[in-house]
Symmetry: C2
Subunit: 241 residues, 2 copies
């Protein structure tokens, strides 16, 4: 009988933010699959759960390099899915670990896309880095009738980004490190710089909450950071009125 694939979210990084179910499945699965960006590199998700792993378990490192070429990326994802499928065919249950939640900006999504149809599957949701960031900053994300948007900070279309900032109460921007200075200019123009917060590496011991965004200008920002912008919709309403 074929094995079962678990997509397991290990949460934002703090080992205590693992769910009880994730901990149980990670302890029980004969094969632990982890994504790595370098062939012989470490896995962040594996580091989070390292104390739970025993020598009897096999760790299957799956290579997901950061390559721009779509065909090459696809080939790596197919190879990863095939390696998992072959363990399942041999009757082993596999726990595929991902940071945060397995279905929100996670490598597990790419595995899912290439698995053979009919693969038996169970997904264990995890605490997201967004929840960890708001917890660290003690910042309500949204409540009542408020609207939330979560998107990568790209400047392909600045007017579109401006529109989103004005239509939502809270906007969480991802992957913004390289465009931060331009983004801060835009937030200043919209008078949203004072109601924005950067959270670097939420839940990590070296993580931090930065409320003085001007102080980050021209400085390096960790790629595991979130920029949370609040009050845009209200502000846009005032401007219109």
């Amino acid at each position: 009988v074929a094995g079962l694939l678990y997509g397991v979210g290990v949460g934002p990084g703090d080992p205590e933010l693992l769910t009880l179910r994730a901990a149980r499945i990670i302890r029980e699965a004969p094969v632990i699959a982890v994504p790595v960006t370098q062939a012989d590199g470490d896995s962040y998700a594996l580091g989070v759960v390292a104390p739970l792993i025993t020598p009897e378990q096999r760790v299957l490192s799956l290579h997901f390099p950061m390559v721009k070429d779509t065909a090459a990326r696809r080939a790596y994802r197919q190879a990863a899915a095939a390696a998992i499928a072959s363990e399942l065919d041999a009757g082993y249950d596999v726990a595929f670990l991902t940071e945060g939640d397995p279905l929100l900006h996670s490598t597990f999504i790419y595995v899912l896309e290439h698995l053979p149809a009919g693969t038996a599957l169970e997904i264990v949701p995890g605490v997201t880095s967004i929840a960890a960031a708001t917890a660290q900053a003690a910042l309500p994300l949204v409540s009542g009738n408020q609207r939330l948007a979560v998107l990568p900070a790209t400047f392909e279309n600045v007017d579109e980004l401006r529109g989103i900032l004005g239509a939502f109460d809270t906007v969480v921007l991802l992957k913004f490190a390289r465009v931060f200075d331009r983004l801060l200019d835009l937030l200043c123009e919209l008078h949203l710089d004072r109601t924005s917060v950067v959270v670097e590496r939420a839940s990590h011991p070296a993580g931090r909450v930065v409320r003085d965004l001007e102080g980050l200008r021209g400085r390096p920002i960790h790629y595991l950071s979130l920029l949370i912008v609040q009050g845009g919709r209200e502000r846009a309403g005032e401007v219109r009125a």
Copy 2:
């Protein structure tokens, strides 16, 4: 010395989706505070963690009725915050339980707003019902450069809702039960009905994933449901092209 207030997310309802930290804090806190909508009613969050609670712990039920009057609502929230503050002043740590995550559409946000300045606070993030819903449906929420929006389904401004559906890859609609039929008409008009899913009571034993939305027309829908709409941005791009 004053007590510490923990805002604890207990996750979407399945007791195994509690985090290790939430379980530890709930076991250790002398006072467990829970929101109830009826004065003598049960707390859903307390039910989730009931096996962890011992007779030595005190349960503080805080009344948050569903009232439309803003002043009355505010008075209930102030009373809840005052009851918590008085436990903290007496030196007791208080764990305030909320479903899902404490900073995403949670009663804890209203408590936060009314606490005395300087209250010592630690927030324990939790698994959201959105993550539980996508896990149950095995549905990737967003990945790569995709954009996510989360908002209540109101029809105050249909054109605005239409614009959001066309600008985001995934839109999670909350509190839609009472407007479902109108919403389904809009999704059909935008050709998004086939790429939408309703998840009722995610992670609950009676929870279910409904992909045939037409089958829900005119039927009662549980208020703890999410409607996940996908492909709107791509579709809008095709229409423009």
